[in-house]
Symmetry: C3
Subunit: 421 residues, 3 copies
């Protein structure tokens, strides 16, 4: 099932996402079309969530900078990065000097509109290309930001896809970045495709797939469910910046040794010599910051390609749909499916015979030339009732899927059994 | 004591070894001349040993392929690899086409007779060089295999050389391969020389030295003694493919951390910069497969040179006496002696003084120029009552024998003592 | 406070140090001027200290080799290395042949007087340059060593600088080597400067700073205080050969994992890409030999530059004041201060909030461009109530001082707290 992830990306590209507001809801509504039963949640402004308070909801009607004779130079309608996120409203003619303190640009990327927010501090401002800024040589300009902050809601969405057990895998991405493709539309569409795939499967574990505004959203999410999630979560991945051409990377959990880390590292290492990168937790950047916080301690790591902050287009208008592509998105999706498959099918096995079994009695051992036998015997010999299948597969130098298929065949043949959990 | 291992190899070269039959018994009888008190055991056909049943005994009187006018093209009398092991009897003129399905050769080694067996599946066949096969262009051939399978015995041999304690070291090799030198005559003669050396020594530990048909033999061996062996075995080595010019190698146990692994790794590392190879358990191939099986779990690793499957001559008639040599056999023997010596003399020591002793009072410290003192002090300083001598010798960068001699001198001097075991 | 360590070195250069006698006391008296309250201790000759007996006190009045017509060729007044340490007295004309057995020189360093002692074996001898020896071609020479051994005392000095807790850090150097600069004046002056710095600070831990004759002195020191020191010592450094231009090095404790090892390794690794060396305990050479002896087991490692025995001038008259310099001495001092600071301020912290705190509420988070925030969040995210600050700082890739300052600010802000100890 090849999903048209680039089409989805184009569809949601221009929704005016922020940590609250219509852009978030439009994105969730779109995702609800893709993922049946995806549920939208509302958290009211003013509610305390751990150390934070849900901010007012935010809405921009329009915004522009014009010459005093009415020529529009910078228009929110052109690119919703043009206004500082959560900018206060402003209206009137001001001097170029004063305006300058409210302009954000990056001289090192003169064609890029930088991405700036001021969620929790009262502020107004425009983000412009450095070239735009340099052309603004009049002594006065007309500025207008028609924005509103009001008691409303922070929204997020989730879906719980029940499996055979209530042990859960958490999959989380964020939906708060306006008009940037790798950060963050890539994460949204890969998580959506993954959710659809999980819905199409019959999984052993329960899957909790979460679309939240970054930081405040995951904090609010955890606030309402921490007890349950700490008790049930056995693994999890944050999905971020995963549509560019960079190598697939893992940002490890604090211990670097959770089931999520081990599964991902095994998948990446088994991936036919394709390059991959491994980052320590200190290099984290997205909602793994919350999921792995001391006392939260969920076994979560992050899957990314070129990590946030490490590509030139990061957090600017240059991070447009051209930075991502279908091959990369599908490569990330495929890797995540493998990680999830190995976690979902992970088990600890023990051989039922003492010494090697007489394989030819089980229809598995060609009498004159060996072929499946070495793998079969490796699966058995490594299944010591202690190391799990993810670890054994690595020791056996077999892709997890192959180890798993062999182990299941051996269970049916009565040569292997699962340890009680 | 330099043992004439190559002479022994020549003596037993042509015995028609298989997993049962005269070749095994002839080999054991020969070994009984070398190793007084080596005992031959009989396990009857049909007996269940774990997941296996002891097969019928096997005997080949003669076998050949001839032209219909009586010219012998392939003759078992020339090389006992020519008949597929445990081949059913056959007799008569058959078409070249049908014969072809019963011929085994290897086009990549046109002068080699491959080694093929079919112990547990009814089958008949000849193994020939590819050149022989290509010359067989007649339309019909006469084939005759005078073989017998009958209720008899599987044989193996062992000797228990008692030491001061009943903690045991297992040494095991196999005696079932016909007319191949590195695999397996090298293992037989090195194990025999090792047994003779152990008999000539006064050892602390008890030595169990085992000559078995590979796989079915070690399984049968374990079947009768598993409780005792699990309780008493503290270390062990399988000896295999150890007469060629390759570097001495270890195939580690599953944990890679048993006394056997540690002793061998220390010996190899201390061996004057001679190259060596370390394989993981997944690369195993001989009876360590049984000894290390889950639930068997003996602390055994394998000592080899060029590992099975990794040399061109492997499992063909090219693995003749020219593939092994006395220097290599003695090098392996010497390494095994060192491993055994370090295991036999291993102990956990603790220094008896607080702070360095005043060495010059013990006749060990030259007053004006140091020489033995640094080693003496290293032995003492590392003997913390926790790390054993094998580990301490490595930390001290001393060969085990030197560490051991120093430790024993220090025990006599009262400066060191053994921890109670 | 830049200390004039080279001036101190020059001041104490020529004191006739040995393991006992005036040179030791003169050195201690000098140090008492630098370090108020440094206390001199006396251990009488003949006292048993563990396996040792305190030797007689030693004194050299004068010594020389002359031609029979009275021309002085070798004079103790020129360099107090010229007489073998603890040499017996001798006086008279002897043949060149007999003299030769009492001469020590090093042909590989023809201008160097070697450093030789014979503390515990009755002996007399002169140490000369090889060039001097080669010029001594007369058939007879007059030799005279006016030395005395008598019941006296072995001296050492210590100071305990109390902190807020009675958990102690041991700092130790030796004061027994005559007229050699890197080994050992460098250690003396760095330890003195360190003592002065600790006295000027308000430390959390108690500091025990020890100046002892090497080996016999540290043994005597431990003999009188072992119970207390084992109970209270949490870390310690032996300071030795630390004034030359070599990279700062650590000789690790036996485990390599004590607080002292971890602090020093972190400081060296964080030291702006400056090279450093790490030696194992087996490479030890100074009083860490006693402090880390089995059963003593103090958590001590050694800080050095070019390790004893590894520089050409070692244990010869070439190890003069030219081998050390103020920059190197101050570099070592600075490293030790950092080690001590990190040990003194080490703590195990835990974040007080669940999920990241809303930093902008704490005056720490600039609303539109991040700067301190990443470090602040790293300190919090790594403070899991288990890993200590030294370990967390390394994981956070922050110098300890920066981690510590941030952690303390966070404690004040209520976002972090110390685990009960």
């Amino acid at each position: 099932m090849l999903e048209p992830m680039m089409e989805w990306a184009e569809d949601i590209w221009s929704f005016p996402r922020s940590i609250t507001g219509n852009g978030v809801r439009e994105t969730i509504h779109y995702l609800q079309e893709l993922i049946p039963n995806l549920e939208m949640h509302y958290v009211p402004s003013g509610q305390t969530v751990f150390d934070w308070v849900i901010p007012d909801e935010y809405f921009i009607e329009s915004a522009h900078i014009s010459t005093v004779d009415g020529r529009r130079l910078v228009d929110y309608a052109d690119n919703n990065l043009h206004v500082v996120g959560y900018s206060d409203p402003v209206k009137g003619v001001i001097s170029r000097d004063i305006l300058d303190k409210h302009l954000y640009s990056d001289a090192t990327k003169p064609d890029a509109i930088p991405y700036i927010t001021s969620y929790y501090k009262s502020e107004w401002g425009f983000c412009v290309t450095h070239n735009q800024r340099e052309c603004m040589t009049d002594s006065e300009y007309y500025v207008e930001i028609n924005s509103k902050k009001f008691k409303g809601f922070l929204n997020y969405a989730d879906i719980i896809i029940p499996g055979k057990t209530n042990r859960e895998v958490l999959l989380s991405t964020y939906i708060c970045h306006p008009m940037m493709a790798n950060d963050n539309i890539s994460g949204i569409v890969v998580a959506a495709a993954l959710a659809r795939w999980i819905q199409s499967q019959s999984m052993n574990l329960t899957y909790r797939i979460v679309f939240v505004p970054e930081t405040i959203g995951s904090i609010a999410y955890l606030y309402s469910r921490l007890g349950h999630m700490k008790k049930n979560t056995v693994a999890g991945y944050v999905i971020t910046c995963c549509g560019d051409q960079g190598p697939i990377s893992i940002v490890k959990s604090p211990s670097g040794a959770t089931l999520s880390d081990r599964a991902a590292l095994a998948v990446l290492a088994a991936n036919d010599h394709q390059p991959f990168k491994v980052y320590n937790f200190i290099d984290r950047g997205s909602d793994e910051r919350q999921y792995c916080w001391p006392g939260i301690d969920l076994p979560v790591c992050a899957i990314t390609r070129t990590k946030f902050g490490e590509y030139r287009e990061y957090h600017t208008s240059l991070d447009n749909l051209g930075t991502i592509n279908n091959v990369s998105l599908n490569g990330t999706l495929s890797t995540l499916k493998k990680c999830i498959s190995s976690i979902d099918n992970n088990a600890t096995y023990i051989a039922t015979t003492l010494c090697e079994p007489h394989l030819s009695r089980y229809g598995a051992y060609p009498s004159t030339s060996p072929n499946r036998a070495p793998d079969i015997l490796n699966v058995l010999a490594l299944s010591n009732g202690c190391d799990d299948a993810i670890e054994c597969a690595q020791k056996a130098r077999m892709p997890f899927a192959e180890f798993d298929a062999t182990a299941k065949w051996l269970c049916k043949a009565g040569l292997l059994k699962t340890m009680e959990q």
